[in-house]
């Protein structure tokens, strides 16, 4: 069974098939054991992601862990907070500041 890490910096991978708890998923040569069932196309953690730290996919933060996430855990809306607004405001401010300094 396979899961896909899109970017080398990612701490989650996407399951390429429906997964049952206990399934071993190969992620670019490394095995990760799924903690719970999850549908195809959903994400599992490749390492521990402590509460309050970022979930990384496509090499960028996509949200914040709303509880402690452990290796092999199913990662979705139940344990990730969508902080898009905050992230985008921070990025926009930083970009505009950089542009103004040029």
């Amino acid at each position: 069974m396979i899961a896909w890490r899109v970017d080398p910096a990612d701490n989650v991978a996407v399951a390429a098939q429906a997964v049952k708890a206990g399934d071993v998923l190969n992620v670019g040569g490394i095995d990760v054991i799924a903690v719970s069932d999850m549908p195809v196309g959903h994400k599992l953690a490749l390492c521990d992601i402590p509460k309050g730290t970022m979930v990384i996919k496509y090499g960028v933060p996509i949200g914040k862990a709303s509880e402690d996430i452990h290796t092999g855990d199913y990662v979705h809306t139940h344990n990730v907070e969508d902080i898009t607004t905050l992230l985008c405001e921070e990025y926009a401010t930083a970009y505009r500041r950089k542009a103004a300094e040029q």
């Binding site: 899109v6 996407v14 196309g41 959903h42 996509i62 949200g63 969508d82 898009t84 985008c88 542009a99």
Partner: protein, 388 residues
């Protein structure tokens, strides 16, 4: 890797990959007459719900959309089919089409004293144009002359992972050889504006991207009373595994690859000023046909369309090259798909698959029919920011 394709040179210097004849309705009253002329001749028809009793801004968009279709480099000639008393000024339209070097003729229902009579006259005119068009020969051009649209729709969990990523690999390769790629679907940009701004060729363009995303966010609140984050990702997106808006948006912008700088923003009907990656800032609702038509209005000659679940969408003035990132969808719907990017999920490298996609683009550019053409899918949806 081929670096040239066989295309048609137009007198204004643009290069097309098809030699289509269009039958364009001037007003909705002439739609079925235009359709009958097209069906009898195999020409492509453009019908719509405008052309009369339109407010100035709405009519301006109707006019621009019809003019842009006729001026696309894939078009040899257009037959304009009017009623006779409509708002659309066919004399001005013919003049502006001819300025681009493309041909245009007109047939009017009131002038011809009836619908059947107009169909008969129109069919003869199209046949004559087809005979002329058949005399044109393809010539060799470098791939730097290609302008593509990149798009996704009918998405599933593979769309971002293998479908859009393969388009991105193709984009990087084509642009490195001097070609042009247009992305739109800008409603999907908020959430990845920082990534896009950092890809901009300079900070001026980066700030324009930021500004566009700010406006899109503000419009959401003004028009719907809700933030974009409140409605996105949708319940369907979440069921498919998308957790946050950043994640959804990043999957969308994978289509422009990772390397090529964004040269700037263009608007409805504008062609790319110079090669590279461009954003078509078209804020019409996110139905797929709006972006496809927007690309063809900006002079794109092929639309490369990633669809996980499968969509037949085509366009009257350019072939749509359909690919899926889902190997199962590819097997189930071979009659819809031109390319299987699902091989990426089965171990093929993204780089090689992107290269194979560019090869397919070059074959299509040189004359190979896409499934959209074989299946007769030739939509043309006038993109409107608002229907009110």
């Amino acid at each position: 890797m081929r670096t040239e394709f066989l295309g048609y040179e137009r007198s204004d210097g643009e290069v097309g990959i098809r030699n289509y004849i269009l039958v364009i309705s001037m007003v909705h009253c002439a739609n079925s007459v235009a359709q009958q002329i097209a069906w009898a001749t195999g020409a492509h028809v453009i019908v719509h719900d405008g052309g009369c009793v339109e407010f100035a801004d709405q009519h301006e968009r109707t006019y621009l959309s019809l003019l842009s279709a006729a001026k696309n480099p894939n078009v040899y000639a257009s037959l304009l089919v009017g009623l006779g008393c409509e708002q659309t000024d066919h004399v001005k339209l013919i003049r502006e089409i001819e300025e681009s070097g493309r041909k245009a003729e007109y047939v009017g229902i009131q002038e011809q004293h009836g619908a059947k009579e107009t169909v008969a006259a129109g069919v003869e005119m199209v046949k004559k144009l087809q005979t002329e068009a058949a005399k044109m020969e393809r010539k060799s051009f470098p791939v730097s002359r290609l302008v593509l649209g990149v798009q996704c729709g009918g998405s599933d969990w593979t769309t971002a992972l293998s479908g859009n990523s393969t388009i991105g690999a193709m984009t990087d390769l084509l642009v490195s050889q001097g070609g042009s790629v247009i992305i739109s679907e800008v409603g999907g940009f908020p959430g990845s504006e920082h990534v896009l701004a950092n890809r901009a060729v300079n900070t001026k363009v980066g700030l324009q991207i930021m500004q566009m995303c700010d406006e899109l966010r503000d419009d959401y609140v003004k028009v719907h009373g809700q933030t974009i984050e409140e409605v996105n990702p949708t319940p369907g997106n979440k069921a498919g595994g998308i957790t946050t808006l950043v994640e959804k948006s990043m999957g969308n912008v994978k289509k422009i690859g990772v390397e090529s700088p964004i040269q700037g923003l263009i608007y409805a009907g504008e062609h790319v000023p110079h090669p590279g990656v461009w954003i078509l800032d078209l804020r019409a609702p996110g139905v797929d046909g709006n972006a496809t038509t927007g690309f063809s209005m900006s002079g794109a000659v092929i639309d490369v369309f990633s669809t996980g679940r499968g969509s037949p969408l085509g366009n009257a003035v350019m072939p749509t090259l359909k690919l899926t990132g889902n190997p199962a969808s590819y097997e189930e719907m071979k009659s819809l798909f031109d390319f299987n990017a699902g091989v990426v999920l089965e171990g093929a490298s993204l780089e090689e698959t992107g290269k194979a996609l560019l090869e397919k683009v070059i074959s299509v550019a040189s004359g190979e029919e896409t499934k959209s053409e074989i299946n007769g899918n030739f939509e043309y949806l006038i993109p409107r920011e608002s229907r009110h």
